[in-house]
Amino acid sequence: MSLLRFKEIPTRIAASVSLLLTFAFAIVGSPASAEPYLAVETGLKCVSCHVNPSGGGKRNVFGMTYARTQIAARTILTDDDPSPWDSEINRWLGLGGDYRGGFQSTDVTGLMDTSDWSTQKATIQLEIKALPGLLTFYGDEQLAPGNSLTRESYILVTPADGKYTIKAGQFFLPFGQRLQDDNTFVRQRSGVNFTTPDEGFELGLELPRWSAQAAFTDGTAGAGSAPGKDQTSLSASYVRPRWRVGASYNISDDPLGDRTMQAVFAGWRTGPISWLAELDFIQDDFPSGGNNEITATLIEGNWRFRKGHNFKFGYEFLEPSDIVSEDEEERYSLVWEYSPFQLFQVRSGYRVYNGVPLIPATNRDEFFLELHAYF
């Protein structure tokens, strides 16, 4: 019998307490990276491994070198060209890409059992360093599934040796942790993830221990400008070698109802395990008055127990509406990532969703076997 079943501890309080407890044991995470646990593990910032200062997308030379020498079980070098691919064609031109695809089986409780093989995403990134270290043209195009789709397209100016960054164009917003998995509750419900770029400009500050971004965009998540819509997204993190902590704030003005989002996030190491945590509060205002509040949390551990292997385990909690009682959802993840050699990874995982009994889709088990290749 659950005590919570009878003692209705407000979700927000419970979620806050749980996150504060995690803070009490250690402290906090990276602002943005496709795999922010690696940033936590190394004590580095996202810009150390990615062209984009706020993380994700094309890896830079260091990122490729780290992936080859530290993540992969072994490095394969060809006889005729002993210098491995590092994403740089020459000093002015860089090229990168990702492919993710594989098998997924889903069992929706009591209803259906489906499985299929599919390409989830194939992307290619082009980096033109017109003035190396100062002016970069960057593009990230999704090639599959379906027709080509622009994910990011911007110019990046990095004066003062990258201390300041100015980005203009279409890009992914800085908010919370830039997790690779768009279906985590924190990324899915905030609407800030790798499927929702926005157009505008972003100012950034990179100090030895600080990373901060302020983005001012259309607020249409890739649909161009619209009357009365705009979005401001702020994010900052304080980075130490063994831990980091950050906070984000986002406000979207919209004639159909404004949205305000706040996030606190953290990363830390305990022994061989790198932890990530995030707590998001989202408020949607109704034009007619009133609002709905969403709370989403994530805690994730990553244990690279052997070179080439990472064991990822996570728990997420979601309160999709403060208006509706007993609609909470949970998501458990268990993922094994194996990189036998550079540029290639096999991921296999099992996820369990527990949700509202009346909505079968919120109660399902998923198994996936994914092939991930990148260059």
Binding site: G146, N147, A223, Q231, L358, F367
Partner: protein
Amino acid sequence: MTVATTSNKGMWRKSPVVMMTIFAVLATAGCGSGNGPSIQGGGILLPIFDSIQVNALTPLCTNCHVGATAPLGLRLDAANSYALLVGRASTQQPGLLRVNPGNPNASYLIQKLEGTAATGGQMPLGAPALAQADIDIIRQWITNGALRTPAPAIDPVRVTSLDPLPNSAVPMLPMTITAIFDRELNATTVDATTFLVERTGGDGTFGDGNEVSIIPVSVTVPNFNSQTAVFDMSTTSPVEDTYQITLAGTGATVMLDLGGNALDGEFSGNFPSGDGTAGGNFVAEFSVVGVQPTLQSIQDNVFTPTCAGCHTGPTSNDVNDLPSGMDLTSLSMSFMSLVGVTSLQDGNFQRVEADDPGASYLIQKLEGTATGGVQMPAGGPPLDQATIDVIRQWIFDGATM
């Protein structure tokens, strides 16, 4: 599903590919492939916009497509979806309408659901695809003209499900009772006069005058699902009894749908309710069985039959007078003997410390972790943990009389 583990470190070290394969095989054990019927959003999907909203768009699409940060600005919540879908050009494929009335093949929504869209992934992204049978119903709605509101229904509204299930036995009183109907309700007709809950009063029968009416915290039709009526009884003291739910289809005030059709309520045990004619109350029962987290229930089910044989009183402050020096023979004496009373065996604890079952000596005695004496009930089998948990819950709730 069971995922096996191994301690064979050598196997991990030497053959990760093998291990990955084994992991995959084990994890997929029992998984098959198929495309079973029905909608993951729950409820009955009909070629009517409101049904599609309630059973598909709201539960499956608003995970992402909601609020001011909805992807591509496409909000699919009930307040916005129709206006942003029907007759509106797709952002990804401007040459197509998201919903082209009368032409499902030229509707981008259908292409996204079926995974044939020229751009981007199949929807819902990252979640299982809808069964083709469900998509066909959405197709039918579009073929029918993609109307916001269909021609008014003329048949009566029916009950399609109930939680808790009719004639079920549940171990604890639910906080809410939820009835689901085959269409949206007129929320003004759903209140404590048309959604009634009572219990027998302890004799197991209704209609003999001693029934106890349950006073709800609220009776509502949630905005997010107006096919649902929710009776909130979260403040009701749980009592082991048979409960009867009545939804009014007959009488001065009855439940109505948005078209003004009355409830067709007659229920014979199978959903949907009704006999095809408007009118008739929906009546169903469920039972709450087993000890409840109230002192009265604990007294009746635990203290009186199990403890009061030894703990007879009169109350004493001398440890040598135990067990009779504690009085568990009645509700009031149990309360006075337990709550806030310092244990004679271990003065560091109260027998029951309100709100703190872990610090209550009663729990320690029942679970066999107390420092003094033997586990209770002395000489008999211990209480099952579920019963002890109920006593814990009563203490956690404040240990009131």
